[in-house]
Symmetry: C3
Subunit: 321 residues, 3 copies
């Protein structure tokens, strides 16, 4: 994976997974995002970093929110954007994923942003991509969602820049969450003091400790003295299966309430990748409360995606806004 993501000089070629990257590269993403964030404050919110480049959004799973942030990020960098509605495309005519990739590449795409329900889809694309073409993983199966993890790291860094002092709790459906998987890798790489998972046994992967985390089944205990708490979205379809009781019952055990948040440090920040199920995994009073940085995460997502796009295509040295 490492080899595939990096150019021979160690710079970023694709962005597929946090796993295998060096801490310095994650820090570079954070610093580049901090720099590009300034663009949003200008009257004309554009830089010409990717002018004349074509970015193709290939979403095999629908996600207006994530696709839109990638689209805006590309527009801000002056790229041309093509949104491919994959539901109605040739893949439904029986064309293979590889034929689709090669066909789009032949249209001189410079970058693919790909979301796919199968783990490894983005890596497959990257393995077969032509020289000069970059692939960004916007979520593949249960595997990884590395731009989400990096926007979360950027958000944490802006509030609490010393990762080595942080206790971070991730709460909810870890088992099915590509977001959680990428966050755990990123937090460990950036040297977080402690990463905790809080979840019922049925929503944890096997042998979670092998990921370098501590496991809790109780919110009050798991939140104690935390600096950051990251709530995960509970997929409604899971609640109807064997994994879980109903939403009310889940909220009673694992919902983040004001009372529970008291167990964390007073300056603990509350995060959520969105969209939220209010009253299921998080109380509205917490979601909208003073410790919530949930909307900041969205803005930070723009800056981080601009940073990663600029790094893979523009080269680090050309990124100054």
């Amino acid at each position: 994976m490492n080899d595939l993501q990096l150019n021979p000089d160690g710079s970023l070629r694709h962005f597929l997974s946090i796993e295998g990257l060096k801490p310095a590269l994650l820090e570079q993403i954070i610093e580049t995002a901090a720099s590009l964030e300034q663009v949003a404050k200008r009257a004309v919110k554009k830089v010409p970093v990717l002018r004349g480049k074509t970015v193709m959004n290939l979403f095999f799973e629908p996600s207006t929110r994530t696709r839109t942030t990638f689209e805006i990020a590309a527009q801000r960098l002056s790229a041309d954007v093509i949104n491919l509605d994959v539901q109605t495309s040739s893949t439904t005519k029986g064309e293979s994923l590889l034929d689709t990739l090669k066909t789009l590449e032949a249209m001189h795409a410079d970058m693919f942003v790909i979301r796919h329900h199968e783990s490894g889809a983005a890596t497959f694309f990257a393995r077969h991509a032509a020289p000069g073409v970059s692939v960004l993983n916007a979520g593949d199966g249960w595997h990884a969602h590395p731009t989400q993890a990096m926007l979360d790291m950027f958000t944490i860094w802006k509030h609490k820049p010393r990762f080595d002092r942080l206790k971070v709790a991730i709460v909810g459906d870890i088992l099915h969450s590509r977001v959680a998987r990428s966050q755990i890798h990123a937090l460990n790489l950036l040297g977080a003091m402690e990463v905790r998972l809080i979840a019922p046994q049925t929503l944890l992967p096997e042998q979670p400790e092998s990921l370098g985390v501590h496991v809790y089944h109780n919110m009050e205990e798991g939140l104690r003295d935390c600096d950051v708490v990251i709530m995960l979205r509970l997929q409604k379809e899971r609640m109807q299966g064997a994994h879980l009781p109903g939403g009310d019952e889940y909220f009673r055990c694992y919902g983040l309430t004001e009372a529970r948040l008291q167990h964390a440090r007073p300056d603990c920040i509350v995060m959520h990748p969105g969209p939220m199920n209010r009253g299921v995994e998080i109380a509205s009073s917490v979601a909208d409360g003073p410790q919530s940085v949930i909307l900041e995460q969205v803005s930070n997502g723009l800056a981080v995606r601009m940073a990663i796009m600029a790094m893979v295509l523009g080269g680090q040295h050309e990124v100054r806004p």
Copy 2:
């Protein structure tokens, strides 16, 4: 409403409803549209008024026609445009309208163009919008469709600039028409001599006279000496309900034919917001005849939407093309 739409200096902040606006502001929109209309005649049909701004089209009801004119208007002003397909977005995952608004705002949207099946949706957005973010109502329930009304006023003004001398008839399904509601307010604000509604009792709101109009149930009488006749689209789904007999019967009573148009003034212009049901509310010979300005309305819609976008975001003084 007035407070919400205007900045403290009286300039336009949002555009939600004709109701409550001052005549001078409506005249300013008309004048700005007249100025921006010149852009369409250039070889390069663009002005940089909104360069680097992000306009988001949020259509909770599908409308290719209206969405497209807003999209082209924004392109001509050099804005970046994001079309959000709301049918597939997080709102279907149970996210509230307010969460959707706040999330999109966090992506640094500068303007929302919103169409929604519920009356008051645009006002709700405007009430919660962050400073610097503008909301344009592209139709909310039965309430208002103010940009349509303003393009109609602009169209009338180009042919008959003295509103105080005009008799204007609005014909058809007034009850369910947000277009008619906005037109009536605009015509009264601009001082039209007389506004008439021509419709069967079942397609009129209660106490229509309270709107400052005269009511007719007979086309020949209602059209007599009119300078402008505005036909409304008959929603097919209404015809199947209790409100109305079939399309043929409707056309026999309330369809605009050449013979009926003879009762109006010889220079009376014929308008329709489109798309037309030919042979239901209007005869093809009238729709395509010399008095029809129906296609001009479409072009005027571009100029008026550019004007309103420029006024809310660019500030009046920066709008010179």
Copy 3:
């Protein structure tokens, strides 16, 4: 048709059909494409030929691949592009095709790219288009797909510039193929030495010889000494009808295999408009083999569509990249 496609000075006004065009015009398209192809090799892959122009993609049949190449071609020429999702537009509200055209024209569209399931739809549009508005046929019924034919001619020309020395075989479902129809006209106009059709009787039009071709029912005979072989896509829905046996049986008789390709000239190139049914009309080893130029066709499609767009709107003299 000729009159409709050309301006009085013989330059291209619309692009509807190969039929009726002069060879010199086809050669001009090829030369312009060769020139514009260089744009794709620049760091900033854009030229301002269509800056400020609005190109509208009207696809009444879904086709992500073709729509995307037109969209990218327009972006590269700096045009503004509007994609109209015709499934959800006013045409489904009962508006006629002519009303749709006139409405979109009133939005100051400069060019329509239209795909429609009815033969003659693009010509209908062109016949009613306002002065200054151009129509490109992106496929109409079984009639024509002229930009596909021209990208195929451009592809052949790059490998084998002397058409008068070429034997070209077109293989597969000729009967239902607008692509084949346009290719046959183009090859004959450019003076190809011989055009062959290879197909079962059930997939040939009546009196195919009237098209100026030789007919074969046997692959080995038809491919003998060919310089170019063009495979057509087999529509799956045809295989289920009376026209044809199953995919395996078809492949056994008319599939292009390495063994069969041996009957053609050693430097014979293999083409396919895509998307391919591997193992039905073409073996994977051929599709991905050294004689295949199938992906080049996609890239050439961009250059040819840029060329045609520039010629109809920009005028030939302004096209220099």
